[in-house]
Assembly symmetry: C2
Amino acid sequence: MFCEDIHSALDSLVSRYDEAVVVMDESLQPSTVSRQLLEGPCLWLKGGEAQKKIETVERVWDFLLEKGVTRRGLLVAIGGGVLTDIAGFAASTYKRGIDWVAVPTTLLAMVDASTGGKTGINYRGLKNSIGAFYPPVETLIWPGWLETLPAREMLSGFGEMLKMGLVDVRRKDVRCTKDSDRLWEALMRYDLDTMPIESLTPLIKACVEAKERIVAADPKEEGLRKVLNFGHTFGHAIEQLIIHNSQFTIIPHGYAVVYGMIAELYLSVVRLGCPKEPLQQLTRLMTEYYGRPQCKCSDRSRLIELMRCDKKNERAGEINCTLLRDIGEPVINEVITEPEAGEALDYLFSL
Amino acid sequence: MFCEDIHSALDSLVSRYDEAVVVMDESLQPSTVSRQLLEGPCLWLKGGEAQKKIETVERVWDFLLEKGVTRRGLLVAIGGGVLTDIAGFAASTYKRGIDWVAVPTTLLAMVDASTGGKTGINYRGLKNSIGAFYPPVETLIWPGWLETLPAREMLSGFGEMLKMGLVDVRRKDVRCTKDSDRLWEALMRYDLDTMPIESLTPLIKACVEAKERIVAADPKEEGLRKVLNFGHTFGHAIEQLIIHNSQFTIIPHGYAVVYGMIAELYLSVVRLGCPKEPLQQLTRLMTEYYGRPQCKCSDRSRLIELMRCDKKNERAGEINCTLLRDIGEPVINEVITEPEAGEALDYLFSL
């Protein structure tokens, strides 16, 4: 739910419960959220992918136990996607599941993590390998958080929005633009140099609605929902390689998705005859705003190994991707060979 | 599903999956289960309440990862209720949920843990405080396991069967006895000295069916299902006290439920005018077969404290019980006072 006043939206939600506790990103200012809510118990957590581990879930469980939260209680998670994923997973498993509310404070969390019910943590170096499908009772999206979000975080969220623009199966989106063109074209016109919130808001809405439509049709990712994995087979591998190698600087998730989409758009052109234009447009955005990936050809075999272990694979050891026949025409369950994966990586590293 | 041949039942289930792995109680003989299945990967786990912890869940996660199990894989859990609870919880959270099959090998697991979809572990000394509602795709009940089950374990399972006899809301159960009387009377006639499997099997079926009916009507324990908590408010507290105090000898779960039912039947008589007969019958069974509880009046305050933290409570700090107006007439959400709880404990310890 989009809201113009996060304070009153939170207060009205919380008033429906006898008890409510908050898990909040420690980088946020307490003053930005509901006064009523913050009079109650609050656990401050550090953000960042490295926190997405079972030990942090245990901290949330301990907090809930310590505050004596019953099965009728409410957990309010305020923060980025890492925090809402952790808190949502803790809520799904505490006393076999309590209600929770997601309040995404980053663009990435608004357009991605907070919609669709996926919660979870990384485990043994594998992203989101432990978790649950456990949607919050409500997601409160307040674009006001974006006023102070660093450009790097804005670009990361925009990466997932670009993905929605490429996979959204509706040909026209009348609501998000004046001239009724596709979400992709509207995203291409967005001014990434100044990043105005006002013109971003309708695009966020279009992305959230597109994701909601897809998730409603296939909540457990048995088929259609896999279109959302576009860019993520290569993207997750790149992200994991970077996380586990101290010579690299950690990149936001959406950057990895942009790199992954370039590799997968390359394969889409080669295997499915996808037009080259979106690949060229995305490549231009990458060089101009995201920068080239830090990993190189010498990381190829490790990246391929990581893709083989991806939980998105239908069968152990194979590499499963979502590719595109064209913008808005995703094709799921494309099993690619090791040489093809290598070729796509070579292309990406050559840019 | 009841089966006469566990080998073929397992083989036919497993053949529907590309990959299947087994988690099995290490006290069981490999020869007792499907040959086909045991050619595949198997993780042997120790049984016992002390294993019901997050570290054991991590061992199952590690095993699943190591064997490269995908989301399409199947986990077969063969063992007592502790093992199926742990394995079911691991299945519910591995890659956001994979299919699993419960193969209960104890009477307690057959009549209780394996039906109803509750999975979970103990955490910070609190029983089942972390877990999920995540039913197996199938529960295979093969009474053959009971041939070699120790008497103590048989009595433990029988304790939960007694509970079903007291709370089952159907007045008559034509299927389980010749003379169409209630499950409770049929249970009272069962010969606990020789414990014949043949005459136990229809009683097990009646208990499983009774539980299935209740769970189907209220899968998430929002109301009716709470009738199954009869005996468990006091029972869980006694069980936890014993687990955390090395001066006591660990007792099987069903023994604690018998003690809990005596305390709660006492309150049922006092508060709701329940007839005294079932209390007298159960007391006789306790003294003759289960033995008196080890804890005493001096443990009262700790037991009351434990009941206050029970996750079954609707509101933090209050003590919530299921009581009986009569056999087959359970009343949920009875909030009892601290003096009442003390009185019921005094009664139990005076026997």
